[in-house]
């Protein structure tokens, strides 16, 4: 905990993104507080979330494509073995849920699983290390866990949502899709009721997908921040058990995001 800061300020500081945007008074600039970032409205970008997100995604592609390029069909080396394990794990999950032919699903599931896992993994880096480094080099805010930014989780779930709509229409036709939305579960005489029910169900998919990941990671991060408020000699008593437990959560959340994506897309392909 940085000195000369109240606990509330400390928590507030750790939960504020580094935002660059069009401020009504200051013009295009970095926001100097959460207040200013809010005033920027939609025309702003969370630079830290974006940088870490893209950096981790690039790391994923770099690592996997490097192994893929050198992949041997003989006895695999350590890294290749590890990567193959992940690939087979994802492939098994896709094959057990998704029974149609679609070349996008499996690579997308892999991307989601590894990328979300890496983003969540940033949560295990002690909360003050990188923000302190950033502060030392003149950057006021630095949130290093992209999945604690609702923009990031919602961005991914909306991309999945677009795919759900796209494949629903592609597989069933526009009329088939509309029929699915309006003629069940109660038949054509309860059409408005059906439509309302199905639309809520449809929209709940991306929202729940994004909020589940965001909520879990945000809460986890918050607990790490609260633990960091303790005296330094007492922190390990709580932070170590919580970090160990959190390893389970970050993996589980990445897995859930992946599996639900596959399930939703399988549902989009299935005819009812």
């Amino acid at each position: 905990m940085a000195s000369g800061m109240s606990s509330a300020d400390y928590i507030q500081h750790h939960l504020t993104n580094l935002t660059y945007g069009n401020h009504p008074v200051n013009g295009w600039s970095f926001a100097e507080s959460g207040q200013q970032a809010a005033e920027m409205g939609f025309m702003a970008i969370n630079v830290d979330s974006m940088a870490w997100s893209i950096g981790l995604g690039a790391f994923f592609i770099w690592l996997f494509s490097r192994v893929a390029k050198k992949a041997t069909t003989g006895v695999p080396s350590g890294t290749q073995n590890f990567i193959e394990m992940i690939i087979e794990f994802v492939d098994d999950n896709v094959k057990s849920v998704f029974h149609h032919k679609n070349a996008i699903i499996a690579p997308m599931a892999l991307t989601i699983f590894v990328w979300v896992f890496l983003m969540n993994l940033m949560d295990l880096i002690p909360v003050d290390w990188i923000p302190a480094l950033a502060a030392a080099s003149g950057i006021h805010f630095m949130k290093i866990v992209p999945s604690t930014d609702l923009n990031v989780t919602l961005g991914m779930s909306l991309a999945v949502f677009v795919l759900i709509i796209f494949y629903s229409i592609k597989q069933k036709g526009i009329m088939g899709f509309l029929a699915e939305l309006s003629l069940q579960p109660l038949g054509k005489w309860a059409l408005p009721f059906n439509l309302f029910l199905e639309l809520v169900g449809l929209i709940a998919k991306p929202i729940s997908l994004a909020l589940r990941l965001f909520g879990n990671m945000y809460a986890g991060e918050m607990i790490f921040i609260l633990i960091a408020l303790l005296p330094f000699w007492a922190q390990w008593l709580l932070s170590v058990p919580w970090a160990l437990f959190h390893i389970l959560i970050i993996t589980l959340q990445a897995f859930i995001f992946m599996v639900l994506t596959i399930v939703y897309l399988a549902m989009a392909h299935d005819h009812h």
Partner: protein
């Protein structure tokens, strides 16, 4: 918590990373996995085939062994039969030879006996003549009394 353009940034990065994964990560790795799976399956097949071939070879070896054993037994039997046949033949020949020799010897003996009998007869005739001369005190003209002498000799 502000909603802002980060959401668009994340959507764009998501699309790009999924595309890169589809292009450079997934196909080569799954291809390598499938290839290895094929190789392992082929290896197992080959091992199975080799085991089967080994079994076949063992069976044919066993069969060949049996056959040669049977052949050897036949040969030995034939040889034994032939040997006893030869021995029998030799026995027969020897017996025949012995019989022949015996018969020849018997004939010889008979001949000798006859010859001795003849000689004895001749000598008896002479002795009879000499005896008679002595008894009669006169010589007996052999020519005159030839018939008589012969009769005597024949009666002996």
């Amino acid at each position: 918590m502000n909603m802002n353009m980060t959401i668009l940034g994340q959507i764009i990065s998501f699309i790009i990373f999924v595309y890169l994964c589809m292009k450079f990560v997934w196909p080569p790795l799954t291809a390598a996995l499938a290839e290895r799976q094929k190789k392992i399956a082929e290896g197992l097949d080959a091992a199975d085939k080799a085991a089967r071939e080994l079994e076949d070879a063992q069976q044919s070896v066993e069969a060949a062994l049996q056959e040669s054993k049977a052949q050897a037994a036949t040969l030995i039997e034939q040889a034994n039969k032939r040997a006893s046949q030869i021995v029998d033949e030799a026995k027969d020949t020897a017996q025949a030879e012995a019989d022949r020799i015996k018969a020849a010897a018997a004939a010889d003996v008979e001949q000798e006996v006859n010859r001795a009998k003849e000689a004895l007869r001749a000598q008896v005739a002479t002795l009879v003549v000499a005896g008679a001369e002595k008894i009669l005190g006169a010589s007996i003209d052999v020519n005159n009394h030839q018939e008589l002498v012969d009769k005597l000799a024949a009666e002996l």
